[in-house]
Amino acid sequence: MEISVSPPAGAGRRQKIVIDKLVQSFGPLKVIDRISMSVADGEFLAIVGPSGCGKSTLLRVLAGLIAPSAGRVRIDAKDVHGPDPRHNLVFQEHALYPWRTVYKNVALGLEIERQNPERIKNKVTGLLNLVGLESFADYYPHQLSGGMRQRAALARVLAVDPDVLLLDEPFGALDAMTRLTLQDELLRIYLHSGKTVILVTHDVEEALFLADRVIIMSTVPGRIREVIPVTEKRPRDRGSANLAALKRTVLGILGLEPVIGDVRVPDTNFSI
């Protein structure tokens, strides 16, 4: 079975990313099985699903780090062939270079582009201000907290000004409070930049708080199970009844429905 997924009708926006019957296998293991979907220009898409459902693999394919086993992946009507700074990926953690300061980490992409030092300086300084790390420019990653490190990783990717931002559980390793702050910051950056964002996360609330659409994937092999549009205006109220209802729906589809009221008692004749 395959579900075709397109952006909400009438959005009137051009299709930025088109994935057509994508299959991804590693040897005998089929990780992604015929996924088709498209993402509109400037859309914020979230992908949730159990671990091992191929959502990170999907991002790596979109980033051009792995070539599809079958099917096509097109960005701006062109097949993805290898990595391209214009569609860039932020990893979960450990991706900063420990031997570079925060400043030098953020400057990496601009150095690779061989920009002149003056321009690099202006751009990096601006980005450090944007993510609130201006006073930590000369610190090394191991001297920073997890949240600060992810801010730096985000700034490093924003430095090359990608128009597709791929985020692979970027806040997954952070504590709950820091995660909320960074979600707000990501939202602010998204709303100001107009970039197309695909966020892979295992945090359903995070997906519903940020995304235009939430794609739910099933596992082994990864397929699209359901698409939940979130129409509420941003910034959203995390505690709103609408988001709570959507959360229940999503968790239900994932087979994790919260039990309210009566606590279900498991079978009485179970053995341990």
Binding site: P98, W99, I112
Partner: protein, 271 residues
């Protein structure tokens, strides 16, 4: 850079009192070790006659006498020259081969096999062969030093390239890095700790092999020869003075220069 320096107070760094204590804790064991060697030596000197074991004071005087002699300085200089040439050549060779091993699996397997066979032979055992092949002189000694210092560097760099964090490579590729940029911006910084380790271990090997090769290598100049010759004419003061100079020079080169180089290259690890 300067305008950002003012904000450095926000995260505390171990400095002041702590740093002084650390320095004390580091230096103190060395002082004890040095003094106990000196004490043992002094006691031995009291038990044995002076022509067998001269007292530390006499040896120290002899060291300063020798350091005032041009011939001795030339001998030390010659040893140092052989060491430098051999060690630098071995390091460059080891680094190159180690890097190639890291990116070429077949080559790596071959080199691993080669290393495991050749490393089991103490470098000094090659001396007679090299003397016959290359004749008396600097060449056989330098070759022995190269063999001694080459393996640690190669193995250390080879392992490091294999263990380069794949995520770090992906990040640079995503930002558009070409092969050369990957090498300079990811692989090189990532293997620097291994280069430092390889250099330190290699240096220790090179230094030991240098002295040994000079003792048995049929040369008539160099620190190893100096000790050997002094032993043949039963000049124990000179033997011990030579040993003292070897220990002293080695400690300075390894403990000071290589350590400083390491801290400079790995600045980010020591913050």
């Amino acid at each position: 850079m300067a305008e950002r320096a003012g904000t450095a107070e926000t995260v505390e760094r171990p400095e002041g009192r702590g740093a002084v204590e650390t320095r004390f804790v580091k230096v103190f064991p060395y002082a004890i070790a040095f003094l106990s060697i000196l004490a043992g030596w002094q006691i031995a000197a009291l038990i044995f006659p002076a022509y067998l074991i001269p007292a530390p004071r006499r040896v120290l005087v002899r060291v300063f006498q020798e350091l005032g002699r041009e011939a001795f300085l030339v001998t030390v200089g010659k040893s140092f020259l052989r060491l430098s040439v051999g060690f630098v050549l071995a390091s460059v060779l080891g680094l190159t081969i180690g890097l190639v091993c890291g990116i070429w699996t077949f080559f790596r397997r071959t080199v691993r096999a080669l290393v495991s066979i050749l490393q089991s032979v103490p470098p000094i055992a090659w001396v007679p062969l090299f003397i016959i092949l290359l004749g008396f002189g600097d060449a056989p000694i330098i070759l022995v030093i190269i063999i001694a210092a080459f393996f640690p560097m190669t193995v250390s760099v080879m392992n490091a390239v294999e263990q380069v964090e794949p995520l770090h490579v992906d990040v640079a590729r995503l930002l558009g890095a070409d092969r050369m940029q990957l090498l300079v911006k990811v692989y090189a910084p990532e293997v620097i700790p291994a280069i430092v380790t390889g250099a330190q271990v290699g240096f220790g090997n090179a230094w030991r092999s240098l002295i040994a090769a000079e003792m048995v290598g049929g040369v008539n100049i160099g620190l190893g020869w100096f000790i050997n010759f002094a032993g043949e004419i039963a000049d124990m003061t000179a033997v011990l003075a030579g040993i003292f100079v070897i220990g002293f020079v080695s400690a300075i080169l390894d403990g000071y220069f290589l350590e400083r180089l390491k801290r400079r290259l790995l600045k980010w690890k020591y913050l």
